[in-house]
């Protein structure tokens, strides 16, 4: 059964079991052993493959050599016939027959080696696929177990420290509130800054004798003097506009 199929059926059952064993320890050990076996059979097959491929090349070379010899001897036989040396031609034909038999042998051997090379290559490919598959299965199983165990540690930790996971909405509200508070504080700081900046400017203007407040005292004194002289009594609002 594929590991994901197994996971799917486990997920339908109890969550607790998932942290325990997606693939039981025994199966994991079997997979690990199979991975080791596959790796060693790959090593062996590769070693064998090198030998067989060498033989394949050797037989191919022998076939070429024999073919050349056959052609050479056949030409010699033709020459002998042309010179009327019938029995010599016969003898050469015998040699060619021997070479031809050897050639057939080498051809058969070569074909057999080629088949063996193909088989070994397929064997290596299969073993490699098996390793990849088992490694993936073990990896999925271990990862799943690890995630579920981590989650259960986190839950236990939250429970043991007495802090409760609040609901998502509550968390969101709190985070938003904090951001709003921060934004409000920044706005307040901003306006405070502006106000203080404003006052500082006013004070500078006063000190320089410029603006509304600069000659307030002088104007009031002038009003008092006018009253003291018994002239008309201007009300406070009648003072000259600054």
């Amino acid at each position: 059964m594929s590991v994901i199929k197994k996971l799917v059926s486990l997920l339908r059952g109890s969550v607790r079991e998932i942290g325990e064993s997606v693939v039981d320890a025994n199966a994991t050990r079997i997979y690990e052993q199979e991975i080791l076996d596959a790796k060693s059979s790959i090593d062996q097959a590769k070693h064998e493959l090198a030998g067989v491929m060498a033989k394949e090349i050797q037989t191919a070379r022998a076939m070429e050599r024999l073919q050349a010899e056959i052609l050479r001897y056949e030409s010699l036989a033709v020459e002998a016939l042309n010179k009327g040396q019938e029995s010599l031609a016969e003898e050469v034909a015998g040699k060619v027959a021997e070479l031809d038999r050897e050639h057939t042998e080498q051809t058969n051997a070569h074909a057999a080696f080629a088949v063996q090379v193909g088989k070994l290559q397929a064997l290596i490919k299969n073993a490699e696929a098996k390793i990849r598959e088992h490694e993936r299965e073990i990896s999925v199983a271990r990862t799943t177990e690890s995630v579920y165990r981590a989650t259960s540690s986190i839950s236990d930790n939250i429970a043991s420290t007495g802090s409760r996971l609040s609901t998502a909405r509550e968390s969101l509200e709190r985070i938003k509130k904090r951001h709003e508070d921060l934004a409000d504080r920044m706005t307040a700081a901003d306006s405070l800054d502006k106000e203080f900046g404003h006052r500082a400017l006013e004070e500078k203007l006063n000190a320089a004798g410029i603006g509304d407040n600069a000659d307030r005292q002088r104007k009031i004194m002038a009003r008092i003097r006018t009253r003291a002289e018994g002239g008309t009594t201007p009300r406070a609002g009648d003072e000259p506009a600054a």
Binding site: R142, E145, S146, A150, L172, R174, I175
Partner: protein
């Protein structure tokens, strides 16, 4: 193979600088598999948990539980999560037991910078996803 803690050395600073200087705290979680909790200031409610197996490093953020989903919108929520999966960079939606998670998986030999980038993206994505999908929750 390095232990998870060795591999995460200094990740708090890298995450912090990725997130514009937010304070980041690391805390190992006791248990039979290695887990490290990453808490990010101003987002303490959404910590990221980093764990590993032989094959991968997994960064997870718990979003909500099965019980929090409004039953009438459940199918639509699940479909939305499937639709979102290919579009959200680095993070995917999943479920562990009855907990919905956003997670990012990395190769076991990832550099600390890569893990930090994944954690930062995960934190941003989780916050964004929670905001976008809260209509499906109680």
């Amino acid at each position: 193979m390095k232990t998870l803690q060795q591999q995460l050395r200094g990740i708090d600073h890298v995450i912090s600088s990725t997130l514009g200087g937010l304070a980041v705290q690391l805390q190992p979680i006791p248990g039979d598999v290695p887990v490290v909790q990453v808490s990010i200031a101003e987002r303490d409610e959404l910590p990221i948990f980093i764990t590993c197996s032989d094959a991968q490093i997994l960064c997870m953020c718990f979003l909500w539980t099965e019980a929090e989903i409004r039953p009438e919108g459940r199918t639509r929520l699940l479909e939305t999560l499937l639709d979102l999966n290919p579009s959200v960079p680095l993070s995917s939606f999943g479920r562990v037991g009855d907990r919905f998670v956003l997670f990012g998986a990395l190769s076991r030999d990832s550099r600390v910078e890569d893990i930090a980038a994944d954690v930062a993206a995960l934190s941003d994505n989780a916050l964004d996803a929670l905001d976008a999908l809260s209509e499906f929750l109680n």
